[in-house]
């Protein structure tokens, strides 16, 4: 049973809380993710506008992509604040 307990402890995120007592670390993580996201999104937006041939579907996809991704960033910020 000790073995099972150690497995449980390993996967239990409750034990990770100690690592993020300082939420500043999470802000850095979020900042890094946003940096990568901004680069990839810029590349995607460039492709959509340059090669999309003015397609309505591309326009809808662009709106959908940015709406959902920005919402996810907002959620991530809310979760950091709540930690």
């Amino acid at each position: 049973m000790d073995f099972l307990q150690s497995i449980s402890n390993f996967f239990n995120p409750n034990n990770l809380v100690a690592f993020v007592q300082n939420p500043k670390a999470l802000w850095y993580v979020l900042g890094f993710v946003f940096f990568i996201y901004a680069i990839v999104s810029a590349v995607l937006a460039y492709h959509w506008r340059t090669y999309g041939m003015g397609s309505r579907l591309i326009l809808k996809a662009e709106v959908f992509y940015f709406t959902i991704s920005i919402s996810l960033f907002v959620l991530a910020i809310i979760f950091i604040i709540l930690i």
């Binding site: 492709h47 591309i58 930690i83």
Partner: protein
């Protein structure tokens, strides 16, 4: 719009040929699976399927930390999904009234554009293999050219291949039947006359 394709004056796009959405289904399922997996794994982990010693309940800070990580995970999947979709959607044939333009989107930074004029086309073949392809109406289209040094155009799993073939053939015939000016020399008195004939 025409700048990217370098369309000639008066050249119009008649048809866009893309891969069928069914080809993209694996990416959609991978995305859905990736989103569902963490909460599903958490549910299974804490279910009666596993010994009670393994169970844990996320609470307070740990819950929000887990949700934060999960949000970033979904964001990563979301971006990857759209990279895949862009590669899928921008891989296209444009059939114009003068030629076929093949845009081969091999990757986000790998793009190849080639074109073939209708007068160079020798044959267009369509292959629909299997029940799924027949049911959803997709297949491979191969445009062969008269030139020996050219391999022609090939698109795998194109949507509505018969429609594409019909449009290409119609346009091919139109180009072939265009009026051409030729000189006809009559026997009587060697009088040269120019007239319009169909070839």
């Amino acid at each position: 719009m025409a700048e990217v394709l370098n369309l000639d004056q008066g050249e119009k796009i008649l048809l866009e040929v893309r891969k069928h959405w069914f080809v993209f289904l694996s990416a959609i399922l991978a995305f859905i699976g990736g989103v569902i997996f963490p909460p599903l794994a958490y549910g299974i982990w804490n279910s009666s399927l596993l010994p009670e010693q393994l169970h844990f309940v996320l609470e307070n800070s740990a819950l929000f930390l887990a949700l934060f990580v999960y949000t970033l995970w979904v964001l990563l999947l979301w971006v990857l999904f759209f990279v895949q979709w862009t590669n899928y959607y921008l891989d296209v044939w444009y059939v114009t009234n003068k030629r076929i333009i093949d845009i081969d989107q091999k990757g986000i930074f790998h793009r190849q554009i080639s074109n073939i004029r209708f007068d160079k086309i020798q044959d267009v073949s369509v292959e629909v293999k299997g029940i799924v392809a027949t049911f959803f109406d997709f297949g491979d289209i191969h445009v062969q050219t008269a030139s020996e040094d050219s391999k022609g155009f090939f698109i795998r799993h194109a949507a509505y291949p018969e429609v594409a073939k019909k449009v290409i053939f119609n346009q091919h015939h139109k180009v072939a039947e265009q009026h051409q000016q030729v000189r006809i020399v009559k026997d009587e008195g060697d009088v040269a006359q120019t007239s319009e004939v169909k070839t």
